[in-house]
């Protein structure tokens, strides 16, 4: 595959899941096992293709778009079908093919009520196309389509296979995101008309620095901010997240945390910042403050949770706060850290949700008090995994969670684009509070581990037969577990890939 010419690879990777979903319709619903295996094959092939694409990627030019497809799509409104991938997109794109693959493997064994693997996996494949597409779409309209596309399958996933309050959660998820995304669309349109380029092309618009006045940019940024911030989600737009996560089926939570949330931060970095640098600059302190509030607040909320899954969900608020803090720093290190935090959070929290799901499979409850400790004794391997991932999530150096958090704080102390002159003190305060957030984070994870893992099993479970980690779980989880370690030890895996792309991005912002 030549990265200069093989645009088909990207298109094929995007189409494969949809094609797989269509093909799956032909399999009779009774052939339960066949359907599940077929989904593994489809996602596996797609993943293999993306892995090959990753291998063929020209890392020397990671700042430029590769595997480009650029053809007219809707001439009436100048929309183009513009796909491409660069160093910023690649890790996220990779992740959005890895996680569905692992989810498909996981689903061969676990599928919540009411079953129906065909529908479930079909939706998952559709979701995969949507979320992968957002990371390689370089046309605002195309991006918007993919952005919206993920809502519908996720709505059904939560609504049909979710927990007891699934109705509420699914609608809430849908409406919240929809609400933001339409504001985002308004901003896209405003940018389109204001730029005068008659183009939706993200690259072109990014290079046309200084679209409109500062006031215009501020308002346009506000629109995009609403769209992306709800998706991230930033405090105070986060309340859909705990509900969605708590009620979603395991795979849904994994993909939601692992990829969907990333779309928001990716949107900030890819679209809002470079196209509206002045607006971004005016918003940066607000972003930073909201991000840090999110960090501290998310952690505080975690401390109050009694449901493991809800706790993990709230932890996402805090972790994404760090990502947003990196973005608010408006410098290369910050963007780098934000993107790293994205990937790390995807891997770690995705894994945590897998674990929470399996916990539920075994205990049929996620209430910390009901589980009552002793898991390390009852199912030791599982307990060790939970500890490992929780420790990674609380930002231990050497594991994936650290670099994003540290990097964000490091970057925020000296924000770019002149912010340090006017807001230096504010940012120092942000860093301090963010750092305090790390303590709280450690607090709630340790507390959770203490009450779930440690001690002796309560009477309720002492005699219960609980399976330790099953083979299918090992297979589905091993890549994530390894990635957590690998990203922690070799941050270069992500930092290195992104470096040139982030530099190019910041240059277009005038930084």
């Amino acid at each position: 595959m030549d990265p200069n010419t093989a645009g088909w690879a990207l298109v094929a990777a995007l189409l494969l899941p949809v094609a797989g979903a269509v093909a799956m319709l032909l399999i009779p619903a009774e052939a339960d096992r066949t359907i599940r295996r077929f989904a593994v094959v489809v996602t596996g092939v797609a993943f293999a293709l993306v892995a090959a694409l990753t291998a063929a990627f020209d890392y020397g030019r990671s700042g430029e778009l590769q595997f480009v497809t650029d053809v007219p799509w809707i001439p009436a409104i100048d929309a183009r079908f513009h796909l491409g991938i660069d160093g910023i997109s690649l890790p996220l794109f990779f992740l959005s093919f890895l996680l569905p693959f692992l989810s498909a493997i996981y689903t061969t064994k676990h599928l919540p009520e009411p079953g129906k693997p065909k529908a479930f996996l079909g939706l998952m494949l559709l979701l995969q196309t949507g979320m992968a597409g957002t990371f390689v779409a370089f046309d605002l309209i195309l991006f918007f389509i993919f952005f919206e596309l993920v809502l519908v399958p996720m709505f059904f996933m939560i609504g049909m296979w979710g927990g007891p309050r699934r109705d509420y959660a699914s609608v809430k998820f849908f409406l919240y995101t929809l609400f933001g995304s339409i504001f985002m669309l308004v901003s896209f349109l405003a940018v389109y008309f204001q730029s005068g380029l008659r183009s939706w092309d993200i690259v072109e618009l990014s290079q046309a620095a200084g679209i409109g006045s500062v006031t215009f940019q501020t308002w346009a940024f506000l629109g995009m901010f609403l769209g992306f911030a709800i998706k991230v989600p930033m405090w105070p737009f986060h309340t859909w997240l705990p509900d969605a996560h708590t009620e979603a089926p395991t795979v849904g939570s994994v993909l939601l945390a692992g990829v969907l949330l990333k779309i928001g931060t990716y949107g900030f970095i890819r679209i809002a910042l470079p196209i509206l640098p002045d607006g971004a600059l005016r918003f940066a302190p607000v972003l930073g403050v909201l991000a840090v509030i999110g960090i501290v607040y998310g952690s505080l909320c975690c401390l109050a949770q009694t449901d493991v899954k809800r706790l993990i969900a709230f932890s996402s608020v805090g972790h994404m706060g760090f990502v947003m803090l990196g973005i608010a720093a408006m410098n290369e290190a910050g963007i780098q850290a934000a993107l790293f935090g994205n990937i790390a959070h995807g891997v770690i929290t995705g894994m945590l949700f897998f674990l929470a799901g399996s916990l539920h499979e075994r205990y049929h409850t996620r209430d910390i008090a009901v589980i009552g400790g002793g898991m390390l004794m009852k199912i030791p391997r599982y307990g060790v995994l939970l500890t490992y991932v929780a420790v990674a999530s609380l930002g231990l150096p050497g594991l994936a969670g650290f670099w994003g958090e540290f990097g964000a704080m490091w970057a925020a102390i000296s924000p770019g684009l002149g912010l340090s002159d006017t807001y230096g003190g504010l940012y120092l305060g942000l860093v301090v509070f963010a750092a305090i957030g790390t303590v709280l984070t450690a607090g709630y994870f340790l507390w959770m581990l203490q009450r779930v893992n440690l001690g002796r099993p309560s009477e309720k479970w002492a005699a219960a037969e609980l399976d330790d980690v099953m083979r299918v779980e090992w297979v589905a989880w091993a890549p994530l577990l390894l990635l957590i370690l690998a990203l922690g030890v070799f941050p270069r895996l992500v930092f290195g890939v992104q470096d040139a792309a982030v530099t190019a991005l910041l240059r277009s912002m005038g930084g």
Partner: protein, 715 residues
């Protein structure tokens, strides 16, 4: 031929490999993984020894190797590197040696533990983490090692995680140190931010030091950065007021305590201060703060040990006190003294902890009131513990003597240059030495002399706070009153080795070795040589005293160690007084009422003759031991712990309120409120849609009229 220093990277890698191998295959090995740990740490020790020899014989030899580990954005690079100089070599030697001893010792101590293999893997990982911190050539890598150390301590302190109290202790240790890490991380960030314009590798130690010394680094950055980093050191190195985790950390297995308190975790803070010494030496404020914290800790920490009955807690508080010495020394410019004390303390404190483990192993209790008369049944433990106690008390010619002396001398020199903190270090240090001697003597008397008392509340010893819960304790639960036996060879060999070192390790920094190579030359690398105190001239001039005979002002802390007979005299007197006092009170076994009353006519005669005993007891011992330390304990346990605990509780309450009210109520309610109000409006609309067509028509006409009116009015 390349220097052996180039192989230094192997020193941390060996324990890491060991940890991995033990974790993966340990359960299938005949000794459950212990052999792997011992061999690899032994190899690391051998290599460390070679490196130590190389640097010791060639003072000033330094090797820095680094490669770009990852870009961080903005052209900045994160290095993975090693900086091998005398300081590193010294730490290598200390860490690997103590670690090896603990590895060996644990083979006997932990025999039969269910999680034996896990224990060894963690032990090796702990060692690796500390070595990673030590070898680091940049602050960020040091932070990585630092945090890993914290994690390992969490895993090991909570080793007996079946019990809630141990879980709490582990959490407390991790969270308290993590709180300090906030300071460390922000401090590192501040320092590196100051370096942004100066270097592509803003975390590099050497470059940071150069920039600081040359004045390129802004003073504000230095002050803020170093104070914040010092906050990290406060928590990690058990300084007041963040020392609270340290006594609780005794919940872990005793060998782990030895590792944590002697060689690895608690020394990290002092090490980092030493590493960044030239930077902090740029600011009198920073040094002053460090010195004050150190002084407070060394004195009040020591007092706390007076009232403890748990042998491990006594040692824990003594660790706090000794760390106070080290930190205070840094604060008065006693760089060499500080790390020299770090070095010797590592040996004798490890020895004491392992000895304590041996005792606990024998009597199945941590309580010294349950011991007594153990000298005869446990001779090796007795002698080694005695040596350790002497070293801790600073008995002349032991390791602790030379290093503590150095610290006091540093204080004296600092005082001569016009700094009050130096004076405090000198006198408070001596006072604390007295206290130290007293509580160690008290413990010594209660443990080894008199009759074996057995455990009156043996049952508590298992469930009680901080007691070990090793398998043997359970196995021998009914054998309490059997005579205690000496421990096995696995445990005794490390004791002997450490005892020898506790006696001799001080010699390399003693006045016996006034010429190079000695400890001074070994660790005081050129970077340290180049340290200047920009504020010194100012202060010295103001004080009117320039200690010219002590050498040029910028190097007052250097120069070969010399004898200080005046100090020797004071120290000896303090030692003798403390031991005597202890012997008076506890020499006859555990007093169940006021000891002075049981001393018979002699006691009365002494009281009558000098009146000092009664007064001393009444006005010094009682207030200090019973009131002041109790008060200090209360401050420690109630106020500070209370603040920490209260903060935790308050945070939880705040969390509850935040969650219930703000999140579920306001924010969520705001969103749902829109829907509710939509439904509300929807219900109002229902009335309009009445079904009566003429009302529809009326509404239509009214609408038209309204629109027309509004329309025309607006124009």
């Amino acid at each position: 031929m390349e220097s052996v220093l180039a192989l230094a990277w192997l020193v941390p890698v060996l324990p890491l490999a060991s940890a991995a191998v033990v974790a993966a295959t340990g359960k299938r090995l005949p000794w459950g993984g212990a052999e792997v740990g011992i061999l690899s740490v032994g190899a690391a020790l051998a290599l460390s020894a070679a490196i130590a020899w190389e640097t010791f014989t060639n003072p000033g030899e330094t090797l820095e190797r680094a490669f770009a580990w990852s870009p961080l954005g903005g052209g900045f690079v994160l290095e993975l590197g090693m900086l091998v100089d005398g300081l590193t070599a010294m730490m290598f030697l200390l860490v690997t040696l103590v670690s090896l001893m603990v590895h060996v010792y644990s083979r006997g101590y932990m025999e039969g533990e269910a999680r034996f293999t896990y224990y060894y893997a963690m032990l090796s990982l702990f060692t690796f983490s500390m070595l990673l911190l030590v070898i680091s050539n940049n602050t960020l890598q040091a932070v990585v090692g630092w945090e890993l150390v914290g994690l390992c301590s969490f895993l090991l302190i909570g080793f007996y995680w079946e019990e809630k109290s141990n879980q709490d202790a582990a959490n407390k240790a991790f969270l308290t140190t993590k709180f300090g890490d906030v300071g460390l991380i922000v401090g590192v960030i501040v320092l590196s931010a100051g370096m942004l314009g100066l270097s592509d590798t803003p975390f590099n130690f050497g470059e940071t030091i150069d920039a600081a010394v040359s004045g390129e680094l802004a003073t504000g950055t230095i002050v803020l950065g170093m104070l914040l980093i010092f906050v990290g050191c406060i928590s990690k190195s058990g300084q007041m007021p963040l020392h609270v985790w340290l006594p609780d950390a005794m919940a872990g297995p005793t060998p782990v305590s030895a590792l944590i308190h002697a060689a690895t975790m608690v020394t990290a803070g002092v090490f980092l201060l030493a590493r960044l010494f030239p930077v902090l030496a740029q600011s009198a404020l920073v040094m002053g703060v460090i010195a004050v914290v150190g002084i407070l800790t060394l004195f009040f920490g020591g007092l706390l040990a007076l009232v403890q009955d748990d042998i491990k807690k006594i040692l824990a508080y003594s660790t706090i006190s000794q760390l106070g010495y080290m930190v205070a020394a840094i604060g008065v410019g006693g760089y060499t003294a500080s790390i020299f004390h770090l070095f010797t303390h590592g040996f004798f404190k490890a020895l004491l902890f392992l000895g304590a483990g041996s005792l606990i192993h024998a009597v199945h209790s941590n309580d010294i009131s349950a011991m007594g008369g153990l000298r005869r049944p446990m001779p090796v433990t007795f002698w080694t513990f005695t040596i350790g106690s002497l070293a801790l008390a600073g008995f002349p010619m032991t390791a602790g003597f030379f290093s503590k002396d150095e610290i006091l001398v540093s204080g004296d020199l600092w005082a001569l240059n016009g700094f009050a903190t130096g004076t405090y270090v000198y006198w408070v240090g001596i006072a604390a030495a007295f206290v130290t001697t007293f509580y160690m003597a008290r413990a010594w008397f209660l443990i080894f002399t008199g009759e074996h008392r057995g455990a009156p509340h043996a049952a508590d010893a298992h469930g009680g706070h901080g007691a070990d819960h090793d398998a043997q304790a359970d196995a021998h639960a009914d054998a309490h009153h059997a005579a205690p036996n000496e421990s096995g060879r696995w445990m005794l060999v490390p004791l002997v080795v450490l005892a020898v070192l506790s006696l001799t390790a001080g010699l390399i920094g003693s006045p016996f070795l006034q010429d190079e190579p000695n400890f001074e030359a070994w660790t005081a690398t050129e970077v340290i040589e180049g340290t200047t105190y920009p504020f010194l001239a100012e202060y010295a001039a103001g004080a009117g005293v320039v200690a010219a005979e002590k050498g040029p002002s910028a190097k007052i802390l250097h120069g070969p160690p010399t004898w200080h007979l005046d100090l020797l005299g004071i120290v000896l007197a303090a030692f003798a007084g403390a031991v005597l006092l202890a012997w008076r009170l506890y020499g006859k076994g555990l007093p169940d009422e006021d000891p002075t009353l049981r001393m018979g006519p002699l006691s009365r005669a002494l009281v009558a003759k000098y009146g000092f005993d009664a007064a001393g007891y009444r006005y010094v011992v009682v207030p200090v031991r019973d009131r002041l330390s109790a008060w200090a304990t209360r401050v420690s346990n109630d106020v500070i712990d209370g603040v920490v605990g209260g903060t935790g509780a308050a945070a939880k309450r705040l969390a509850g309120v935040t969650y219930a009210t703000v999140d579920q109520g306001i924010i969520d309610g705001g969103v749902n409120g829109a829907a509710f109000s939509a439904a509300w409006w929807s219900a109002r609309l229902r009335r309009i849609q009445s079904g009566d067509v003429q009302r529809y028509a009326g509404a239509l006409v009214a609408g038209v009229v309204l629109l027309v009116l509004a329309f025309v009015a607006i124009r």
